[in-house]
Symmetry: none
Subunit: 526 residues, 2 copies
């Protein structure tokens, strides 16, 4: 059932704060804004943007978010800590940074394990309660909605249940809307989590949330059991990113809530975006998507066993736990030529191409896409390259120029200076052009030389800019060596398009993507 | 407590049968024997070797296992199905293959979902019960211990509980020692699993087992909840390998049972082998070890946040859910822009450097790390570069050569061929070397040219291999242009180390990482 009040259940994402604690994961401010947009597309209720009082990058994120981030559904949330001991919340600079982040909602971390209060915070249990009460009350008085993350709650509850409960009561009485029970060290199992949540609910009456880590491989299960035990606020991260073994994977949590427990926690129709958003965020964080990830993995609905094959054809529901389309995934064995054709035809319609009569060309496109994706291409992230491929097969190829050769030289001179220079030789409109350009790197030089060679024939090219460049080294598959995938983003000042190139050689892969980028730009200009 | 009777709790591994259903995973007979040896090292009770009646490779495995596999602790188990409809167990060739596998234990898969009986098996519910009864009784009469996997049990129980329960009763009455409740499609959540296991135990009195798949990200949790509800036999696979989203990770299951639920399910001292065995099996199956895997991952006990570092020094148990040594893992401190002196000092200790007296040098290192990470470096993913930086600041710089210049040329010739060539000029041990090499890309060419130039002075370099190469384009920060970060992984056949380079120019960034890689390799060789 869709709740009438969207606040009756909170889906709270902490990818941008707790997720970035993952080893090797580091996001720029621009990356964080892009991730937030994707999270908003699936309709999470809250996006925790960072800890403005702890580092300048997070403070910059909140500044830029005010102008650059228009969220349709989610509320941006700033994270911070309770005030320091022996001061006031109003005078604490870390609390000030939280106020100044300009969000309607703040989430405060508070210690709830007495041992951490005494040994890490080095203050008294009584002062810790005062710190919570003051900081919550201060931020409420400033007009903020306040959530409190009760850190190390489950360990604290085991060590001193009365103190842990007092933390929950004090936070709620001071005006915290939700008190989130955190399994900070990630050591809990589901039965224990359910028992503790029930006890806390009964003994405090506070609205409760849950925040789990995956150190026992039970983060998603612990979160779902907590919901059954009465929490109405779940925290997690995209793809389960996070420190050590990661946080609860928010995507598995919402999929479990919606498809298994019958809770409508996302706006209608958004669950279907799960696979796309999961992969898009992996792309931004430069993480290799886990093919075996629950619900969204490429293998999540792939059937290998020959035993099953014919039975699956009779009744797929006998061999899969949900219809994969519900989360935007596909059953892999059933990707028949027909199903493939239908998808391509739909994509063509999106691009304004009526392909309904072109059965044979569609079959060729399906085969080409399969073959090229197996070789490392990814058309999901490079729709302009896909459109060129589709138009080539259905309308005939478009050639604005014929390449003769290119060459790139990168040199570090004895004085330490590094210079890049590229030469492109090509024929366009019957005229041979040879042009050489320098750049701040080999790809930039190659891009400049290509455009210089073409500008005489196509002056409109001057408007195009290379605005994004991504490189991914793909593992060798079936015995072949590693290949490099390059994605290039190009803009004409109004629109942006993305193209892809794949090659063993990074410069050759870049060339392929650049060539598609320019061809697509010229095609758009007619 | 260690049970007096080792049969009172079964740890049953199905890596070699169900685990090999994983997409892309294919094991030779020799691989399977090697995996079985490792599983025996951690003391699992049963190793399911395969399905001798379904394919010749599995039949060969059982033949070779008789002479080549000496198991200290585990019993080898053969997997098969109940007899076909309208025949006898004695006359069924698939059952014959099971008999002839020569194992003391067999595990039989039986349908327990009435819909699967009728629509996939195409027989009657009554005949299916006869098939189970006959096959179990026949194999018991042949002297085998028999376990029965009740396939699709949880779905079957929901559709027709009476029939599913009858399957359990018939199997147990015919002599099955354990009836294993299988969540074959992997769609269950823990609360439901616990409820169903309790009901089946109460209504049949049979000894029960559990077999879960990870399609809801709850396989480990479901298994542990089933144990709490009364099963005394758990099935799973090494590292959670398996079809779709994988099986329950047996290593997380046994770690959870031993460290969280206080059950002694492995022989004494074996849990400590978990990390080693997990990685060894990943090596055999050619899988990249998941750094975030619970208990055994390289990141499972890694701490990043600077906030924690000083507290971790006081009492590590406050920040980790178990002592990592219990499963053979280590606590690691990650160096990042959040690090302070305490982190660096701890990190130095890991590297065997006592820095406690070097306050000033530590301060310089902290500043350098912050400055360089702000510029795009990431030392948590490049510990060798960090070690060089740390040693340079505390012990003085080490220089094995002086670079004069390098140059890379990548050319696409008119015939379409792409060639890469690099030249490096440097001085080592007072001698100037100029060397040129080709490669399959610019970085490969540069790496070869560098090592060729150095090999006359340092012949040990011939042992080093570039085994990993990663590229990340980082957004412009605070007004500067985009920079490229390159991470290089190098191996000497035994150990691996990672180094980092950052530059506007991708080739220059690669050079920096290569130079660190070679310098670190030479430092290691003394």
């Amino acid at each position: 059932m869709q709740p009438d009040d969207p606040d009756s259940f909170h889906v709270y994402d902490t990818t941008l704060r707790d997720g970035t604690q993952q080893e090797g994961l580091s996001l720029s401010v621009g990356d964080k804004i892009a991730v937030a947009r994707h999270l908003d597309e699936i309709g999470v209720g809250f996006i925790e943007g960072g800890w403005p009082g702890s580092n300048p990058k997070d403070a910059e994120f909140f500044r830029r978010a005010r102008t650059e981030l228009r969220l349709e559904h989610a509320l941006l949330t700033a994270f911070g800590a309770t005030r320091r001991a022996r001061t006031t919340a109003a005078d604490d600079p870390q609390v000030a940074a939280l106020r100044e982040a300009g969000t309607a909602v703040v989430c405060l971390v508070a210690k709830s394990d007495r041992r951490h209060v005494e040994r890490a915070l080095r203050t008294t249990p009584v002062e810790n309660l005062a710190m919570i009460r003051d900081t919550v009350a201060h931020l409420r008085a400033e007009g903020k909605r306040v959530f409190v993350d009760a850190e190390h709650f489950f360990d604290g509850y085991r060590a001193d249940a009365d103190y842990a409960l007092e933390v929950v009561r004090v936070a709620a009485e001071a005006g915290a809307e939700v008190v989130v029970l955190c399994d900070t060290n990630g050591g809990m199992l589901p039965t224990r989590v359910g028992d503790v949540v029930s006890a806390v609910r009964d003994r405090t009456g506070a609205r409760l949330g849950i925040h789990c880590h995956n150190d026992t491989a039970c983060a998603v299960a612990n979160t779902l059991v907590a919901v059954e035990a009465g929490v109405t606020h779940v925290q997690g991260t995209a793809n389960g990113y996070g420190e050590r073994c990661g946080n609860a994977d928010l995507f598995s949590v919402v999929a479990g809530l919606e498809t298994k427990l019958g809770r409508r926690v996302l706006p209608p129709g958004r669950l279907r975006e799960l696979v796309r958003v999961s992969h898009a965020i992996d792309e931004i964080t430069n993480s290799a998507p886990d093919a075996h990830r629950a619900y969204v993995g490429a293998s999540a609905f792939a059937h290998k066993a020959g035993l099953h094959a014919s039975a699956v054809k009779i009744d797929p529901d006998m061999y899969q736990h949900i219809d994969p389309a519900v989360v935007g995934n596909d059953m892999r064995m059933l990707v028949s030529e027909l199903a493939g054709r239908a998808t391509i035809e739909l994509k063509g319609r999106e691009l304004g191409l009526d392909l309904s009569g072109q059965r044979e060309a569609l079959g060729r496109v399906v085969d080409l896409v399969k073959e090229r994706e197996a070789a490392g291409y990814t058309y999901e992230a490079a729709e302009a390259s896909f459109e060129l491929l589709l138009r080539d097969e259905t309308e005939g190829p478009r050639r604005f120029f014929t390449l003769e050769s290119w060459r790139v030289i990168v040199e570090r001179r004895p004085d330490g200076e590094v210079v890049s220079e590229a030469t492109v030789k090509l024929v366009s409109n019957g005229v041979r052009h040879v042009s050489t350009a320098e750049g701040n790197g080999p790809v930039n030089a190659l891009d400049r030389a290509l455009r210089e060679a073409l500008e005489k024939s196509y002056p409109g090219l001057a408007d195009l800019d290379l605005v994004d460049y991504k490189v991914r080294i793909l593992d060798g598959r079936s015995g072949t060596g590693a290949v490099t995938r390059v994605l290039v983003g190009t803009s004409d000042g109004r629109d942006r398009w993305d193209t892809v190139g794949v090659d063993e050689n990074i410069i050759a892969a870049s060339w392929e993507a650049l060539q598609d980028a320019v061809t697509y730009g010229l095609h758009r200009q007619g």
